[in-house]
């Protein structure tokens, strides 16, 4: 009997996975699974500490498509190159698969993936006499927001992530910058944060949130916004595709029957207007039980797993965004009217070309370099500062630029 330790985030899909472990045990009675379940920040912190020091405490770790390439390059992850035939690698959605690969070699298997999209309230739009196009622009969004904004009745025109963090407000804001034609770096790796495109994006972001957004939007991340929307307090919301199922479920949502879906807004370009994020399972090089770990990872990301979740908990509970077979399944299409939209969003997200102009990096709402977490976090804080009026857009972006430059310089100095 071997025991493996699985470090995972505390998101609903992972909780489902823990519930499904019995099924795994039936198939593999010789492997016992221990879970270490934490919220995202704590988990990342733990895993990073462990893996960077070769601690070997975990056999399976949960990583995103952000760190997978970086860690793979550092030689910390085992390559997934002995997948059995039954795994059907080709069933994985290409953009997701690509995001988890380095030199076409998979280093982590996707557990679920998401993109971003627009949610809106059909009833409010009807009342305001407007209609949401399938591919709205940010200018239109602002316009709509103004029209449905009705704070007296507890309805705010638009909810957007304002909570600082590279995975919080910066995920959204990066896509905004992308669609306004801005980029993080030019091809010489020079930061471009004070460009006009950035300023436009920032102004739009600020205007929408401060004028038509809910109060205190700098504390609103995904969860908080989701709550607001489910409570019927947002006219529109641009965020992760995983919320779709939740919002459509009358158990959770007061507005289940009034949610409308559209693609994430763009402005001057559609490139990079919707993000791509995947939670994946990987096996660290330092894992003590790599074989058992591999077995577990294969199981948890397989099509069979999706099928058995569907059997046990219904199709709405399956982890989305990883396999084309999911979207082809009748059952899924039946309960998820948004399925097509999501598949389209994920498929169209191209990490190699996140904006109109060429860039030296990959990644849409992040850049696959180690410094990005720090940069994203700092810039996210600055954006929050802009929202709360601590600095103007210009000042803020200058600070952001300066910080990014410093950090890049530090990396160069270190490199020498």
């Amino acid at each position: 009997q071997t025991t493996i330790t699985v470090a995972t985030v505390n998101n609903p899909d992972m909780v489902t996975m823990q519930k499904m472990t019995r099924a795994f045990n039936e198939a593999h009675p010789d492997i016992k699974v221990n879970y270490v379940t934490l919220a995202e920040n704590e988990l990342r912190q733990k895993i990073t500490t462990d893996i960077s020091s070769g601690g070997g405490q975990y056999d399976v770790i949960t990583v995103s498509n952000y760190e997978t390439p970086i860690w793979a390059k550092n030689g910390w992850l085992k390559a997934m190159d002995h997948l059995p035939e039954s795994y059907q690698v080709d069933d994985l959605i290409p953009s997701v698969r690509q995001g988890l690969s380095v030199d076409d070699k998979l280093y982590a298997l996707p557990f679920y993936a998401e993109s971003s999209m627009t949610y809106y309230r059909k009833d409010l739009f009807k009342k305001a006499g407007i209609e949401m196009p399938d591919h709205p622009t940010w200018s239109q969004m602002q316009d709509f927001a103004q029209k449905v904004h009705d704070p007296k009745n507890g309805v705010y025109g638009i909810c957007l992530r304002g909570l600082p963090g590279w995975g919080e407000n910066m995920a959204l804001f990066s896509t905004m910058v992308n669609s306004f034609g801005g980029r993080w770096f030019n091809e010489q790796w020079e930061p471009q944060l004070t460009s006009q495109q950035w300023k436009n994006a920032a102004n739009a972001y600020k205007t929408m949130l401060t004028q038509y957004g809910p109060p205190g939007s700098t504390s609103n991340g995904f969860t908080e916004s989701e709550t607001l929307f489910a409570n019927g307090q947002c006219g529109m919301w641009v965020d992760s595709t995983v919320a779709a199922g939740y919002l459509s479920n009358p158990d959770n949502s007061k507005v289940a029957d009034q949610v409308g879906f559209a693609q994430a807004p763009h402005e001057t370009t559609e490139a990079g207007s919707s993000w791509l994020y995947a939670w994946a399972l990987a096996v660290p090089e330092s894992a003590k039980k790599p074989d058992a770990a591999q077995t577990f990872v294969d199981w948890a990301t397989s099509a069979d797993y999706i099928q058995s979740v569907a059997d046990a908990h219904g199709w709405l509970s399956v982890p989305p965004g990883t396999r084309e077979s999911t979207y082809e399944s009748q059952g899924y299409q039946k309960v998820a009217p948004f399925a097509g939209l999501v598949e389209e969003a994920i498929n169209s997200a191209d990490p190699e070309h996140p904006t109109a102009e060429p860039v030296p990096y990959t990644g849409i709402q992040f850049i696959s370099i180690p410094q990005f977490q720090a940069i994203g976090t700092r810039v996210g804080q600055i954006m929050a500062g802009i929202l709360s009026g601590q600095s103007s857009v210009d000042e803020g972006l200058e600070q952001a630029q300066a910080f990014t430059e410093r950090l890049m310089r530090r990396a160069e100095v270190t490199r020498k």
Partner: protein, 300 residues
Amino acid sequence: MSASPTNASPKRRAPTRRLMAPAVLFLLIWMIVPLAMTLYYSLQDYNLMMPDMRGFAGFLSYELLFTDPVFWDALLNTLLLVATCLLITVVAGLALALLFNRTFVGRGIARTLAISPFFVMPVVTGLIWKYMLLDPVYGLFSWVMRSMGFEPIEWLSSYPLLSVVMMISWEWTPFALLILLTGLQSLPEDQLEAVRLDGANRWQEFRHIVLPHLGQVLYVVVMLESIFFLTSFAEIYATTSGGPGTATTNLPYYIYLGAFYQYDIGLSSAAAIGAVVLANICAIFLIRFVAGNLNAGSQR
């Protein structure tokens, strides 16, 4: 009171050594090892995400640290936080201690209620405040404001540092209360009696007898709270994440960002050393200026 053995004679130092050795050794190890390692790393290039690039970096980390405007913001925030929280908790704690030192109906229960916030985990404290009290939509505070016909205040974005101060004060006032209350309990009654016969009113009684007697305990409270406030992290982590902007980034949070977002152990070690230096400056300040006055009340 009594004539105390002011001189420690040689023969009496023997038990002193023996008694102190375990604690001192234990702490010595616990201090020296991490401190030495931190000092060492602060002079190294050490980025968790770049395992290949290690080596001696000289004072580069310090240079980067001191040229980082955020560091100075963090420093200022740290001092602000410590100063305001100290002021609030000590004053409020003292007032509450006096209030709860009286005998009244159900004193035990009321006292327990007042002390309870200290039992709550700091992270949970952060969450409670963020979601249940300060949230501009769902928070209790804004509900109260709204039902009184005011616009709710966006605490965490408009007054971020104040919000953190409120949280920390809520959590730590009970600490001051608890310690000061035990201190009050050991006030010799005959001194109170004497001062009353000397014609002192309540305030004078407090000012000239109670306060000096509490000196030692007050000193402990100030010292310990300074440490906790200097290193407060969880409340900020759980609510504002140091923002908006740098409004609530204090040194520990700054170090945290350095270690787990930049993965730059060199830089965060340098910042840690900076925090130690700062704390020691505070300590010297406390000892010099505060201890002299507060210690006066000790019995010996």
